[in-house]
């Protein structure tokens, strides 16, 4: 159970060295947020700035999001999922492998703030975190310790690849993966009637504002112009029409298929707490079942939608 302060100092030490050696022009990591239970991306360019780099149980945003198209040498503080995203971006020509240095942090999962707020409903004014196993939240007249295991994000609960195996270095020992996502809930959903499933998904996205925070927080969504912003022809209406909204989520799910590393950045970013990853999980299940592929697990694998096997199965095609 490493203390966060140990991880912090190791990250800072590595970052300082990388900047000093010229191995990186910028180190992208996390710094403390301005309100409890938040972190903010930090771009350290000078060794002195490295002191602000931290590790946290709230390092939820996937910093690989900042890589595509970035010129120059860059070091990235990355969890397992983030590192896999970065690997995917290398495969997809978004950054040169030689320009990338991954400071891998073996992760123990990140906290879902909503679960904390559900456990402690009083206004939280302060957060104390010293280890990656538990946190203490404080407010007027209370101090509550919460076990991280009880408030992990959904994707972290089923993350089998918490250690960024392809990182250039690891901060601390490898961490064991959780039970892999067995898609049990998705499979259970598939056992329901089509009407129930349709109702489920429509209800899932009924609050969607079409703000596209999920897309913008996603390291896969680096298209210069997203299909939702396309105007000739316009794929999607701009109103909050439920079918347009559903179409956005379906097509995003499709676009992420075979590429998603289940980092959960989309769900973290969603301001109305939609489980947007549900669409990706359906496609990921298909990808795994059909093509036995998981994104970001090696530097040279071909994403499933860039290739085919002549004997790919598709019995539903008559």
């Amino acid at each position: 159970m490493p203390a966060l302060s140990d991880i912090n100092s190791k990250i800072r030490e590595s970052a300082r060295k990388l900047l000093a050696d010229g191995r990186a022009e910028v180190v992208i990591g996390y710094r403390q947020g301005t309100v409890p239970m938040t972190t903010s991306p930090m771009f350290a360019r000078k060794p002195a700035e490295c002191d602000q780099l931290i590790w946290s149980n709230f390092a939820r945003i996937n910093l690989a999001n900042y890589l595509p198209g970035r010129p120059g040498k860059v070091a990235l503080v990355a969890k397992g999922c983030d590192a896999r995203s970065a690997v995917g971006q290398v495969t997809e020509n978004q950054i040169l492998k030689d320009n990338l240095y991954i400071i891998g942090v073996p992760c123990t999962g990140m906290i879902d703030t909503n679960l904390v707020l559900a456990k402690e409903t009083r206004p939280i004014k302060e957060l104390v975190e010293t280890t990656d196993e538990a946190i203490t939240v404080k407010g007027e007249g209370f101090s509550t310790e919460i076990n991280k295991a009880d408030v992990l994000r959904r994707n972290c609960q089923t993350c089998a690849n918490r250690t960024p195996k392809l990182a250039d270095e690891l901060i601390g020992p490898e961490t064991p993966g959780a039970n892999p996502d067995d898609f049990a809930d998705i499979k259970a959903l598939l056992n329901k009637t089509p009407d129930e499933r349709m109702a489920y998904f429509k209800d899932l996205i009924k609050d969607c504002l079409r703000c596209y925070a999920c897309r913008n927080a996603c390291p896969l969504c680096y298209c210069p112009i997203c299909f939702v912003d396309e105007t000739r022809p316009q794929w999607l209406g701009k109103s909050t029409d439920p079918m347009d909204t559903l179409t956005f989520h379906i097509l995003r799910g499709l676009h992420c298929s075979g590429r998603c590393t289940s980092c959960g950045a989309c769900e973290t970013a969603c301001p109305v707490n939609i489980k947007v990853r549900e669409f990706n999980r359906v496609t990921e299940l298909t990808v795994q079942n059909n093509w036995h592929y998981e994104a970001g697990q090696s530097w040279d694998q071909k994403p499933p939608l860039t290739m085919f096997q002549t004997d790919d199965q598709a019995d539903f095609i008559k």
């Binding site: 997809e92 020509n93 978004q94 210069p224 112009i225 299909f227 022809p233 939608l305 860039t306 290739m307």
Partner: protein
Amino acid sequence: MASHNVVGAVLVAGGGVAGMQAALDLANAGYYVYMVEKSLAIGGRMSQLDKTFPTNDCSMCIISPKLVEVGRHINVELLTLTDILSINGTEGNFTVTVRKNPRYIDMSKCIACGECTKKCPSKVSNNYNENLDNRKAIYVQYAQAVPLKYGIDAEKCLKLTKGKCGSCKKVCPADAVNYDDKPEEATFKVGSVILAPGFAPYKPSDFETYRYSDSKDVITALEFERYLGATGPTMGEVVRPSDGHHPTKMAFLQCVGSRDINRADNGYCSSVCCMYAIKEALIAKEHSGGKLDVSIFYMDIRTFGKDFERYYEKAKAAGIKFIRSRVHTVRPEPKNGVKIGYVGDGGVASEDYFDLAVLSHGLVITPDTKALSENLGIQTDHYNFAKTSTFAPVALSRPGFYGCGVYTGPKDIPSSVMEASAAAAAATSKLTPARSTLTKVINVPAPVDVTGEPPRVGVFVCRCGINIASVVDVEKVVEFAKTLPFVEYAAVTMFACSQDSQEKIVSLIKEYRLNRIVVSACSPRTHEPLFQETLAAAGLNKYLYEMANIRNHDSWVHANNPVEATRKAMDMTEMAVAKAALLVPLKENVIDVDPTALVIGGGVAGLNAALTLSSQGFKSVIVEKEQRSGGNANRIHSTTKGEDVAKYLESLKNKVLDDPKITLVLGSEVDKVEGYVGNFATTLTTGETVKHGVTIIATGAKEHKPTEYLYGQNNKVVTQLEFDEMIKSDDDAVRNSKTFVFVQCVGSREPERMYCSKVCCGHTAHTAVELKKKNPGARIFVLYRDMRTYAQKEDLYKEARDLGVIFVRYTLENKPKFSEADGKIKVEILDPVSGLRLLINPDMAILAAAIVSGRETELAMKYKVPLDEDGWFFEAHQKLRPVDFATDGMFLAGIAHYPKPMDEVIAQAQAAAARAVTVLTQPKMTVGGIVAEINQAKCSGCGVCVAVCPFSAISLDEKGKSVVNEAMCKGCGNCASSCRSDAPSLRGFTNAGLFAQIASAL
């Protein structure tokens, strides 16, 4: 011969797949082609096939684009129902006299609506379906036939035979029927002649043993093929003919009329039957949902071609039983089915019941073809196949005459196609001065620029006589069309495709300043090019055209529902208008073609390719990595026909050295490659850069180094090539040896190399015969798994047995055991016939080592061409494009493609050259039209489009954004559908256009 006498036209006799390929290669290389076909339509035997091995491609699907291309080619004159009467003259200048037999249909009027057939009362056995069902006396040969024109079977027509009926003339809406049609003679001049008359299936009628004549449930393989075919008598349902039930157990009997001099007089192997039987067995099993039990009775399984061995393995894995036995008795059962009697391994006699027996008949030369050969003075072999030599595999005995396809020996489709291209090259090698003297070009006015003009759509709704108008209310469609946005003009036409309608459309375009045209008529697949020409003639860019198929997709299929059919026609017209309004003129750009070829590999293939190109007037550069040219042929003693390879090779090398158009660079390889079709720049390891328009890869292959049978331990154990070298040098070891053991399939047909090396059996049989002839006392054993002396090479196998060569079969599980004592080799083998263990003490053992690919991964990547899993270069299409790569301007030849004997290597080299000539012959190439383009503002550079492009037409530029090479793009649109941000768009099929269609469909 004085060049001014040379005629720039070629006669191609036979409209099968070989003839079509030859015609297209000739026409695309600047020669006018007369294609003479006896029947109503081209397509030949291949049009009768359901699927093709080993890819199970749909046969009709893959030839129909070729049919259409031949049918529409401005420089191919199609003479159907035509017989050749005589050909006089000499090479370069022949006079051909033909008889055009009456069709009784005016082809310029017939619109192929089929009304005549519906009314014709005379039923005739349908030879397209192997007489398994009936057609009418007025008919098209098959639905996709080219030319798609009806014809009358004069022998069966009531009007022509008895003067009665005449209903076809009455119903014909186009007044195309002419009962007074008469045969006509015609003469024309050509410079050379290609004969591709094809074959007939051997008819087992008088083959009593197999009871074909008197048992309904004994059928031929081609009949079975028709049963399997979707357009066949049962529309693809596998039935037992006696009662129409689905068979549960069936048998294929191989070598019916092949490898048989006993009853059939056909000593040769027909080369294709093993594969087609496996194919038919697999497809039949598929059709039955796997429930069908299939046995194949065979003597040797001859799956020697590319991917054939895997196909065989796949069949075994699918549960198809292979029984090595020649069936001695077929006994029809009282009601249905037959009992088949045979003797299996170990001499055990068995009898089995089958619902259906299919006779895998051989390929034979028809009496007509035999007569043609005699008439034209073409020498044939004792099987009536035209004679050729290994070194000039498509040249016939009479100068100026060339042959391809089964005419020169039994062979499969890709070999026929290769030979056809080779024949096109050979047939024009002396006609170069007359190139492009007789060919026509279409001159169209430069299109007016309509960019920026608002769309002004003209809609023409075709009545097609009554074909459309009897079902669809065409007036209503027109009135509706007039209400659609941008429609400036809409009208009904009687036959939109008729000459007068075309002229009217041209004048209306001008009168109404129409800048988009929609024709609601028939299928764009058949008629789009015609209307595009009309647009071009009116000065409109031909891509400003859209078609609504209200006949094939509407009136013909909804005849019982005129209301809905009319509504559908309106919707379809609306969809076409919606798309048309968004069409933009597409530019076709012209790029220069560097008229030089780079030939990679200086073996027999490479040298022949370069010489063929030179004979066509094109320069080439040959790169050979060794210090000498000739490749593996340097080591070969003689061909299976007994020709001296060394002598041939010497003359070949000298011709190359003397040829001013050929530069031979020895000791060099390809270093760097840039460019694309027409404009390659290849830098060699010598540092020099070659600019070339096409590339021919002929890098060869090598002999496998055996790791068994004491090879490398005992110097009396040698490979086939080493043995050839010993024979060449008259080695004492060969002369002094008394006992020879040949071991076949050393390293071939094994799990790590699941292919047949194709050349070994023929070569071994030939070598054994030679040895025996020189030294009749020599004891020769050939240890084999299946003897694969295909085609006429079967004669060698027979001769070897007659001379006393002993052939002993072994299996992969029971390989011969080699041991050594006191320097003597001891070979132990189990004879499966007697069940006894044989011991041989050979003085020499010759191993038929596999041919292994060079696995030229780097070269393949440099030119963006693929390799298959065995490392052979992978052609664009295994059946119809055997020497092309999918990437334009790239061709392949020789054993870099797959092992093959020298005659086939040379044919393939000539073919590659012929295909290359179709590119090199045009000083400029037109590119563009319906191709993809990239909006770089939307491109993230992720490379999905690059990965999914089947033609390597997309690459990332220096900014990391995708860019399309229009010269290589074929317009499939894979890129446009795979990109997440829609950076690529396919011209002519843009997202906006297709969205507009979807919107108007609903």
